[in-house]
């Protein structure tokens, strides 16, 4: 019995040791970026200092003032908020429809799954033309439009909605709720993990989007943070500390949102993966 317990303890210890090692490898680049943003130490310095030497926050101040960072931040926040709101609503509507039985449902699911294999770069020209026809070039709505609904997020919702007992929906319908009210008052409250996953994924995709804003934005004041980063690089090459500070400032909101929603996010991704 004791031998079995010892063996299990060793197994746990070695597993944790391996996980610590992997975490260390994953987190080391982040630590290095943070350290460089506080010291400005050139990445090629040898021997490199592991602990920050004379750290200070002034590279962050430089980034804030040398480029219109607050404006870029505002643009990114507005675009991401639009994208999140649209994803949470539109994906829920689409997913709810896909949980119902109707003729052609299988074909629609097949088409959606097939479309996931088409990279955005291949559809960027028609997307640009449609946005131009709508008169949305150089606008927040135009920036957010292609990320308004994502197929992965529809399936995250669908998996979560399918876990809701059919009898509950039937009871709601008997009580006189419309389909929209069923989604709003029954499905969404029971699928908070899926909502969190939609929020996190749509935020990250919208926040990091570079190609689409690069194509449709002409006014420098409508640029988002990834475009600002590229503009920042074009100003001057030797700005190691400020560049890394910029990277931290771009990454921080995404990391914060993920840390806040990670429990629901993981649950949302894995819901529907197992039965029972």
């Amino acid at each position: 019995m004791t031998t079995k317990r010892t063996a299990r303890a060793w197994k746990h210890a070695s597993l944790h040791l391996a996980m610590v090692a992997v975490s260390f490898c994953m987190l080391l680049p982040f630590y290095w970026v943070l350290k460089t943003s506080l010291t400005g130490e050139n990445i090629f310095v040898y021997p490199p200092s592991v602990v920050p030497v004379h750290p200070h926050p002034f590279y962050y101040v430089d980034v804030w003032y040398y480029i219109p960072f607050p404006r870029y931040l505002l643009n990114s926040v507005v675009v991401s908020a639009l994208s999140i709101a649209a994803n949470v609503v539109f994906n829920a509507l689409a997913a709810y429809a896909l949980t119902r039985h109707f003729r052609g449902r299988g074909a629609i699911i097949t088409v959606l799954l097939s479309c996931m294999m088409i990279p955005f770069q291949t559809t960027i020209v028609p997307a640009y033309l449609i946005t131009a026809k709508l008169g949305l070039l150089n606008s927040y709505l135009g920036l957010a439009l292609p990320t308004f609904s994502t197929i992965v997020c529809i399936f995250v919702y669908k998996a979560s909605f399918e876990a809701v007992p059919r009898s509950l929906i039937d009871a709601a319908r008997i009580d006189g709720l419309s389909e929209l009210a069923i989604i709003r008052r029954i499905m969404l409250p029971l699928a908070t993990s899926a909502v969190a996953t939609n929020v996190v994924l749509s935020f990250i995709w919208s926040w990091n989007n570079f190609l689409w804003p690069l194509i449709i934005v002409r006014d420098p004041l409508m640029q988002t943070l990834p475009l600002g980063l590229s503009r920042f690089l074009s100003y001057h090459e030797n700005t190691t500390g400020a560049l890394y500070a910029f990277c931290i400032m771009v990454l921080a909101p995404g990391i914060l949102l993920f840390l806040m929603a990670q429990k629901e996010f993981i649950r949302g991704l894995t819901s529907g993966a197992t039965k029972g």
Binding site: H56, P57, F58, V61, D62, Y65, Y66, Y235, H236, T239, L256, M260, A261
Partner: protein
């Protein structure tokens, strides 16, 4: 909504974290608004460590790639000087007096634009420089 429900909602991390950030940002902005008159104070001393009157102190604003003069002032009898129109967060100061010498450029980094600051170390004019 009852008080307990409100408290529970505020304690939820999706509300508490943005709220805490908003409070911190508001507090920081209040602090900035109260300390952004653009006043830069300091003192100039000679090679012997004594205050130098009538020395010219030049303030330069550092940009990404360039430095540009933003103003000059003369030190008072006690060697002190004051600029009241700094709009930058990254400046350099240098003092010089004909016949005495010139100090090194001193970089002054500020936490926000036009932050009021008093130099802890005097600008030290070097003899013969």
């Amino acid at each position: 909504m009852t008080r307990s429900m409100l408290l529970r909602a505020v304690r939820h991390r999706f509300v508490a974290v943005p709220l805490a950030i908003a409070v911190a940002v508001a507090a920081w902005n209040v602090y900035v608004a109260a300390h952004d008159d653009g006043i830069v104070r300091g003192e100039v001393v000679g090679p012997d460590g004594r205050p130098v009157a009538g020395a010219t102190v030049t303030m330069m604003e550092q940009n990404f790639t360039t430095n540009s003069d933003r103003g000059k002032t003369l030190t008072r009898d006690d060697g002190s000087f004051e600029f009241t129109d700094n709009r930058s967060h990254n400046i350099q100061l240098r003092a010089e007096k004909p016949g005495v010498g010139r100090s090194d450029r001193v970089v002054v980094r500020l936490y926000f634009q036009a932050q009021n600051v008093t130099l802890h170390e005097p600008l030290r004019i070097k003899a013969g420089s």
